[in-house]
Assembly symmetry: C2
Homo-oligomer: 245 residues x 2
């Protein structure tokens, strides 16, 4: 399992993803799960993935290869006119990959499915954020509730539901993500450090600023211990249940 | 889906369960999910259920009917010598119910499975707490981490992992459960009020004290709003991410 969150803030986009992948408990590796393409000044595209690693990698590789082809029929995400069209290209690529993988092969016990969060901006348009389901259909983020989670989403959701606000600045949004990821890794072994962080500034049309949050990252360690302490003291501060109520 | 938690504290057992059941979005009802049997002074048995309502109800009814039969071969949970034996009886009853339901019927799209938490005490023995899986096998709670959750467990788990302590008193344990349930219903529509609360005092061998936490319960409403406020202010109090780190 994985955990990825993408936030659409007034000031830009923030993608955060873990890097742990496992095919069984004794087959653990670290792979990036957020990818990006772009033409500086014209467009920036970010894609976060969860699910079958082989499928995700095949989709990413196909998308990358197609950006380099020059024939006219070719559908490159760097030439598509809108994010809606980019989402359709990714959906079609996903469908092709799954069909090609499954054809003529042994049937696997697990499905080959992957889920994606697509975000970015094309010059002259506002930023976009889409969730692409394993079935290939997709939805755009709502204005009021402008974030998507994929993968192991439940542990880290309550704090996002309570505290997310699209008007947050980057610094506070990243703090919120750190808490959400910390709640997840405290309860689930399949999500783990290091985390990849991509921060895209609205209208910059420049590549995202990237950070790797390693195990020994002092900010994450501080958030983890201070958040645990804050939760306990918040709980202590609440009045206890009274049997006479 | 449902959400039930059972805590084994030094001072006793606490079971809390929601009551919402749904067979589709427009088929919503409220049913109790925690049941009890007992012989005052000799034993008390508590059973919380999630999963298929028909299966759970059939298991509960069969267990209840068998306590009233007088033949010697009959396996009544009120006569079993230990909680290990009671868990085996429930496991066998579950297996019988599923086999009888499935036999000769149309195959359902969903499975008929149920998960149970069994707890209680027999005179002369310490309190017991077991988790009975849909497959019928079961585990006893560990000393260090002495609680079980069943149903929609993930949203409410981080706070339990952080703050549960078997040495808590009943009042604080119920407060913690309220927060865990509140986090769950904030993020998931399939878990809902009212909640049923059963509190059993160690060595009392008397029926549990029961509470129903209704939608308008002032304590729960206070916990829900104050906890939201406390989370936000704890988050605000933490230092923001610094891009120079």
């Amino acid at each position: 399992m994985s955990y990825c969150v993408a936030l659409k803030l007034s000031s830009g986009l923030v993608f955060m993803s873990d890097t742990l992948t496992n095919g069984g408990l004794d087959n653990i590796s670290h792979y990036p799960k957020t990818f990006s393409w772009g033409v500086p000044g014209e467009r920036q595209i970010f894609l976060a993935t969860t699910g079958n690693l082989a499928t995700s990698q095949a989709v990413i590789s196909t998308l990358s290869e197609n950006t380099k082809k020059t024939d006219k029929k070719n559908s490159s995400i760097l030439k598509a006119q809108s994010f809606f069209q980019i989402a359709r290209i990714i959906s079609q690529t996903l469908s092709d990959v799954i069909e090609n993988t499954a054809k003529g092969q042994q049937e696997g016990e697990n499905t080959f499915s992957s889920t994606f969060i697509l975000g970015g901006q094309i010059s002259g348009s506002p930023m976009s954020l889409y969730l692409i389901y394993p079935e290939g259909n997709f939805i755009e983020v709502s204005e009021d509730f402008s974030f998507f989670q994929i993968g192991e989403t439940k542990y880290g959701r309550p704090i996002l539901v309570r505290a997310f606000d699209p008007k947050m600045n980057f610094e506070d949004a990243i703090k919120l993500l750190m808490v959400s990821f910390d709640s997840t890794i405290k309860a689930n072994l399949s999500v783990g450090l290091p985390f990849d962080l991509h921060v895209y500034k609205d209208n910059s049309l420049a590549p995202a600023t990237k950070y790797k949050i390693e195990k020994e990252n002092p900010y994450f360690k501080m958030i983890s211990s201070e958040w645990g302490r804050a939760l306990k003291s918040s709980l202590t501060a609440l009045p206890s249940f009274n049997f006479k109520d």
